[in-house]
């Protein structure tokens, strides 16, 4: 890559040796004078019309209602009841659906089947802890659980116990996932509402994980509150329309 001097003049020997490729090149030609085909002009006009159509949707000045390209804004809300008619949504079905999504966190230990792993993680399916007193169930999820416990007659003792999930989850999420586990895999029990979780949170200020003896007093107790839908729905909310 040495820099040649400005006076460099390759002689024909150099050319033959170094630049035989240059000799076989075709010469540069004057561009043809063929006129553009009429068909091409016609197609270009069609493109221009389609392109101009993009401007048409944006002529509403500062109003977002008209100056936006997407027609579906004014369309029907796909949620049951159209979104604005909240009463029409069945709270139980909605909680089950949302709870199923949140259950991904629980499934790591308790498994997708809700059966847990024998000797390691207790089952949720058919568990008296799950379908029993809601005071106890909410507290387990809110603050965690440690030490030896008995579920469906089997003893379990996980090192570290179950972690508290209350701090990381909203009351609504917590209620949804509890409703889900209380009504899956053959379980059937009244739903837990957001208000019930909030009630427990406001009264119970424990920071450590629970142990089985500590929770004994709550084993049969249910958090008071309306049950709007699902199994054991209270009369006050029975007028709610059923799920679609």
């Amino acid at each position: 890559m040495s820099a040649p001097s400005n006076s460099f003049q390759p002689d024909s020997t150099d050319l033959d040796r170094l630049h035989s490729a240059v000799k076989r090149e075709k010469e540069d030609l004057q561009t043809g004078r063929e006129p553009a085909p009429v068909l091409a002009m016609f197609l270009a006009m069609i493109v221009a019309v389609i392109a101009g159509g993009q401007l048409g949707t944006m002529t509403g000045g500062y109003s977002f209602g008209t100056s936006n390209p997407f027609g579906f804004v004014a369309g029907q809300d796909p949620r049951p009841g159209g979104g604005d008619d909240v009463v029409a949504m069945d709270p139980f079905q909605s909680a089950m659906k949302k709870g199923a999504n949140s259950y991904a966190v629980c499934g790591g230990c308790h498994q997708g089947t809700g059966n847990g792993i024998p000797g390691q993680f207790p089952p949720l399916a058919g568990s008296e802890w799950v379908t029993g007193g809601t005071e106890r169930l909410v507290r387990v999820l809110q603050h965690g659980l440690i030490g030896a416990i008995t579920v469906k007659g089997q003893g379990y003792n996980i090192p570290g116990g179950m972690q508290p999930f209350g701090a990381a989850m909203s009351a609504g999420d917590l209620a949804n996932v509890l409703t889900y586990i209380r009504n899956s895999w053959g379980n059937e029990a009244p739903m837990i509402t957001k208000e019930m979780v909030e009630k427990v949170r406001s009264t119970e200020k424990r920071t450590a994980q629970w142990t089985m003896p500590d929770l004994e007093q709550y084993a049969k107790a249910n958090v008071p509150g309306d049950i709007p839908a699902g199994p054991g729905a209270t009369a006050s909310a029975a007028a709610t329309p059923a799920a679609k």
């Binding site: 890559m1 040495s2 820099a3 040649p4 400005n6 460099f8 003049q9 390759p10 024909s12 150099d14 050319l15 033959d16 040796r17 170094l18 630049h19 035989s20 490729a21 240059v22 000799k23 076989r24 090149e25 075709k26 010469e27 540069d28 030609l29 004057q30 561009t31 043809g32 004078r33 063929e34 006129p35 553009a36 085909p37 091409a40 197609l43 270009a44 493109v47 221009a48 389609i50 392109a51 101009g52 993009q54 401007l55 949707t57 944006m58 509403g60 100056s67 936006n68 390209p69 997407f70 579906f72 369309g75 029907q76 796909p78 949620r79 659906k97 949302k98 999504n101």
Partner: protein, 495 residues
């Protein structure tokens, strides 16, 4: 340069000598750019494989923060754009501009080496900064902000001699189509680069408009640097190899001026429906669709030029790569139109299709044209012929299949992803699930990048051997037909 068929042998001989002298004058800088570019291209393709692997198998390569998708992906794209694309583009621009203008590179060659060196130092430091966490999180501008003045000055060092060559050249009307595009790229890139960097790095934070400017920058670099360089190269090499003049200067002018006047308006439609003044995405969508006009016009012109010469595509490496690259121009143009028009763009917005468009423009269209140019230029600079037909075929087919897979899977994945996200019935679906649904396409992307890596490792080795002067000593070009035919046409002019 202005020889005619009636000119005497001495005229032809003098003209040959003149072109040989021009080649000799740009030899060093052009080979420097090609070689470094090919190295960055190989690095970029390897990073492309790793990034795709990390996307579907996040635990692969462990927890080291340097090797996570979020750092590998921008490094991969930046290596492709700045390490390979602009660098190799400058090499092709310099050679074509010198040849087409009939001007030797008189002085300032050492400045070009220094500029090239600084460009590569800047790319190296910039990519390392991304890997070590210095990402600015602006697309295609991920390198730290102190990099851009170095790159700008280095680019201008190359653009200046090209502009002066054009200024000195004898320019008969309608004769300089390829150099219009190249001269345009010399001016457009600094304009885009300065505007975007000043707006995003030097002005106080612009919020939503900053995102719009970023999208404008990506569109503009593709449409006002990569596209003109690739078209300029195709306009030079297609007539050169086929021996046919460019069919229509009228179409050529229409194609050039429509590209030049429309491209700078695109970009904001990337944020259609977003918090930008309504006219910005509207104008972007308008021009994004209207850019189908230069695409069609240039494609038609190339088609009319190659008419009846398609057998040369099978034999000449230059024409084969250029032809495929020129075929990818309509593909990229149609993808841009689909992503720009509001009806289809609403689905393709923020999906894998965006990545597919970037790759089809930079690799499928631009790089293929540049490979064609490199296969033509390098033998003239090194004085030896390409070593192996097999390596060229290997480069062509693995690149072709690889890029086709990347483009098709990205587009299909984009349609699926965007369609699911926008579908009213999907209102309660988990976002992550929709991402997981695109996994097969990402696996295909990893395989495709592995194929492209394979082709480019051999391309780099082939190029190194050529630059080292270890190519074939022969006066016959390396053509892609069977070896015995090589001997039958020793002076085949279409190399």
């Amino acid at each position: 340069m202005q020889t005619t068929h009636s000119s005497a042998d001495t005229d032809l001989h003098t003209d040959n000598l003149r072109r040989a002298a021009i080649d000799k004058s740009v030899k060093g800088p052009v080979l420097f750019l090609f070689l470094n570019g090919a190295f960055w291209l190989m690095a970029s393709t390897i990073l492309g494989v790793l990034a795709a692997l990390k996307l579907f198998a996040p635990s692969f390569l462990g927890d080291c923060p340097i090797l996570q998708y979020g750092r590998l992906q921008p490094t991969h794209i930046n290596a492709l754009v700045y390490g390979w694309g602009i660098q190799a583009g400058l090499g092709v621009m310099l050679w074509i501009m010198a040849r087409r203008s009939g001007q030797e590179l008189k002085n300032g060659k050492s400045l070009l080496y220094v500029a090239g060196l600084f460009w590569n130092i800047a790319v190296t430091l910039g990519l390392l900064s991304i890997l070590f966490g210095g990402n600015t999180s602006m697309e295609w501008l991920e390198m730290p902000k102190w990099i851009w003045p170095i790159m700008l000055v280095a680019f201008l060092c190359f653009a200046w001699p090209m502009a002066t060559m054009f200024g000195r050249a004898f320019r008969p009307e309608g004769f300089m189509i390829s150099t219009w595009y190249i001269l345009g790229a010399c001016f457009w890139f600094p304009w885009i680069f300065v505007t975007a960097n000043v707006a995003l790095h030097c002005l106080p934070a612009l919020g939503a408009l900053g995102a719009g400017i970023n999208a404008w920058y990506v569109h503009s670099v593709i449409l006002l640097f990569f596209t003109p360089v690739a078209i300029g190269s195709a306009y030079y090499f297609i007539p050169k190899v086929t021996g046919q003049p460019i069919a229509s200067s009228q179409l050529a002018q229409l194609g050039f001026w429509s590209l030049a006047s429309l491209s700078g308006w695109t970009g904001m439609q990337h944020f259609m429906g977003g918090p930008l003044p309504a006219w910005m995405p509207a104008v972007g969508a308008l021009t994004g669709v209207l850019l189908l006009v230069p695409v069609g016009v240039v494609g038609l012109n190339h088609h009319l030029t190659t008419l009846g010469k398609h057998d040369l595509v099978a034999t000449s490496p230059t024409l084969r790569f250029t032809f495929l690259g020129a075929l990818f121009y309509p593909v990229s143009g149609i993808m841009l139109a689909l992503m720009s028009a509001f009806s289809t763009g609403a689905t393709l917005q923020f999906t894998n299709a965006w990545y597919g468009f970037q790759i089809v423009a930079v690799y499928g269209f631009f790089s293929m044209c540049v490979f064609g140019a490199i296969y033509y230029i390098v033998p003239r600079l090194t004085g030896c012929e390409w070593l192996s037909v097999r390596l060229i075929r290997n480069h062509f087919w693995f690149s072709t299949y690889g890029i086709a897979v990347v483009v098709v899977t990205s587009l299909v994945a984009g349609v699926q992803q965007g369609g699911d996200l926008n579908h009213p019935e999907m209102w309660d679906q988990d976002f992550m699930q929709l991402v997981l649904n695109t996994r097969p396409y990402i696996v295909a992307r990893a395989i495709a990048w592995a194929m492209i890596t394979w082709s480019n490792v051999w391309f780099l080795i082939h190029l190194i051997l050529m630059v080292a002067g270890l190519g074939r000593r022969s006066s016959a070009p390396t053509l892609l037909h069977h070896d015995h035919e090589d001997a039958a046409h020793p002076h085949g002019a279409h190399a």
